[in-house]
């Protein structure tokens, strides 16, 4: 009986968390869409998510493209298909690795920072202060972050795609001895608009999820410094899991068998 009670309590707690997150998401989306819009806040967040994440995302994209070229070459060499390296690099980067790796890096960098900033605002009563100053905290804090995440991740991923493909090109041409013109031709010939477009749609969804998790966990943090630390961890872990789950769902929608 006691065991059943524990299962019941855990299940009810889980349902409660789903309900809270759903309500938070609906409110956050409404606040992001309906005026007034806090353009200064949106701009600040766009700078934080987009511009300041560029070095880390660019570096990871470069090495991802390089490793991909090296790995696919050694694999394909077993059945004499080395010429497919350029195609594999460009398709893997634009469809999959560009969006996912960029999103995971941004989740670690920005999602954590959002949860820590909003969580600190919660425990130092700054969110309560917003209410007493007749400002809706969800509108002021969450709306701009969601908008910025949604807009900036596709921009970051577009740049990551270019850098990733360039990384593959560097390894392909200077390490594996491909002809530069032939490598580039292979890259262009098999790349379609849908490959890039699907990656950008994925990244917009990932950007939304990163901001949502950062804001949600920060907004509901409690218990001082320890609570803020827990919120930060939860924001990164939950965003990373959701990125991978939604990656599968979106890949199924775009490219899965009909």
């Amino acid at each position: 009986m006691n065991f059943l009670a524990i299962i019941g309590r855990v299940f009810l707690g889980f349902l409660g968390a789903i309900g809270r997150l759903t309500l938070f998401t609906i409110r956050a989306v409404v606040h992001a869409v309906a005026p007034p819009w806090y353009f200064r806040q949106i701009g600040r967040q766009m700078l934080e998510i987009g511009y300041f994440s560029l070095p880390v995302v660019g570096l990871t994209a470069l090495f991802t493209g390089m490793v991909l070229a090296l790995q696919s070459y050694t694999g394909f060499a077993r059945f004499s298909a080395e010429s497919a390296v350029a195609t594999v690099v460009v398709l893997s980067v634009t469809r999959e690795l560009g969006p996912v790796i960029a999103a995971l890096m941004v989740a670690g960098r920005v999602g954590a920072a959002m949860a820590a900033e909003i969580g600190t605002m919660r425990v130092t009563e700054q969110i309560d202060a917003l209410v007493t100053l007749s400002t809706d905290p969800q509108k002021y804090l969450v709306g701009p972050r969601l908008t910025a995440g949604l807009l900036m991740l596709p921009c970051l991923v577009l740049i990551a795609d270019i850098i990733g493909v360039f990384g593959g090109y560097l390894v392909g041409v200077y390490k594996l001895g491909f002809n530069p013109a032939a490598y580039l031709k292979r890259t262009y010939d098999y790349l379609t608009f849908d490959d890039v477009y699907s990656g950008l749609v994925k990244s917009a969804v990932f950007g939304f999820l990163i901001s949502l998790m950062g804001c949600y966990h920060g907004y509901h943090s409690e218990g001082g410094a320890q609570g803020v630390g827990r919120a930060t961890t939860n924001a990164v872990v939950s965003a990373s899991i959701l990125i991978l789950v939604f990656d599968y769902v979106l890949t199924q929608i775009f490219f899965g068998p009909k």
Binding site: T120, A129, L133, S134, T135, Y140
Partner: protein
């Protein structure tokens, strides 16, 4: 007290799980009156303030501001009602991402739709009213001492000329001299604005300084209320123990939540 109270609280109840923090609070605050709610740590003073401000929904009871019921109102109505309020938080709760003058001008810009250019001189005036020079306006809150933060918090609370100002433990964590400075500033600002003030504190010196009337919260209820002059000879053993800070008496300090 005038016939129509500025704030009228009846039967206010707030529970956290099985713990009854507020268990039927009744309190009236008249127009222009300064009421200080005293009580021990964990007695529910902050919860009472948060219920009035709409930060916590009560389980039951009524809170009327200028005769208007504010329990259960929509968020847009709450924003309208809160325009009447100013609040000084215990830790000042200044926004880290904004400069000092932007903190003071926040309510003017966000809630009253003022432009930054219009709001800045008003923010500087309010900083002057709490004894801070204009150059402090360009600092970040992280660069201020505890006393200066409280002053900036007070400047922010009075900037939009509120009808009601709330003070949450205004002197906690300050040295005796700075506490006296903040108390005097509170009295001065409230008087100049002609505002109604509700403060919560367990600092009796501060309470005597800023109150017209004192109410004591114990066991989730207001157990005594009276003019500040009567506090020393209040015919209530709980008030007597609290005011004189005696460990022995009917109030037993909880060592566990």
């Amino acid at each position: 007290m005038s016939a129509a109270p500025k704030i009228s609280i009846r039967g206010l109840k707030k529970y956290f799980g099985r713990k009854k923090v507020l268990d039927g609070v009744d309190l009236d605050v008249g127009v222009g009156e300064s009421v200080v709610v005293i009580g021990g740590s964990g007695s529910g003073k902050s919860v009472l303030l948060k219920c009035i401000l709409g930060l916590l929904p009560p389980e039951a009871g009524s809170i009327k501001i200028d005769g208007e019921e504010v329990v259960g109102i929509s968020s847009s109505e709450r924003e309208r009602v809160n325009r009447k309020f100013g609040m000084l938080f215990q830790g000042a709760a200044l926004f880290d991402s904004l400069s000092v003058w932007e903190n003071v001008a926040f309510g003017l810009i966000q809630a009253h739709g003022m432009s930054k250019a219009e709001a800045k001189p008003i923010a500087i005036q309010n900083l002057a009213a709490v004894g801070l020079t204009p150059d402090v306006g360009d600092l970040s809150p992280a660069e201020l001492s505890g006393g200066m933060k409280k002053r900036v918090g007070l400047a922010r609370a009075i900037a939009s000329r509120p009808e009601i100002i709330f003070f949450d433990e205004p002197t906690t964590g300050l040295d005796p001299i700075m506490s006296d400075v903040i108390d005097k500033l509170i009295v001065k600002c409230v008087k100049e604005l002609g505002a109604t003030a509700v403060s919560i504190t367990h600092d009796m010196k501060s309470a005597r300084h800023i109150a017209n009337r004192i109410a004591m919260l114990y066991g989730g209820k207001i157990i005594w209320t009276g003019p500040v002059a009567d506090i020393e000879r209040a015919p209530n053993e709980y008030v007597d123990q609290f005011v004189h800070g005696r460990a022995e008496g009917p109030i037993q300090m909880q060592v566990r939540a």
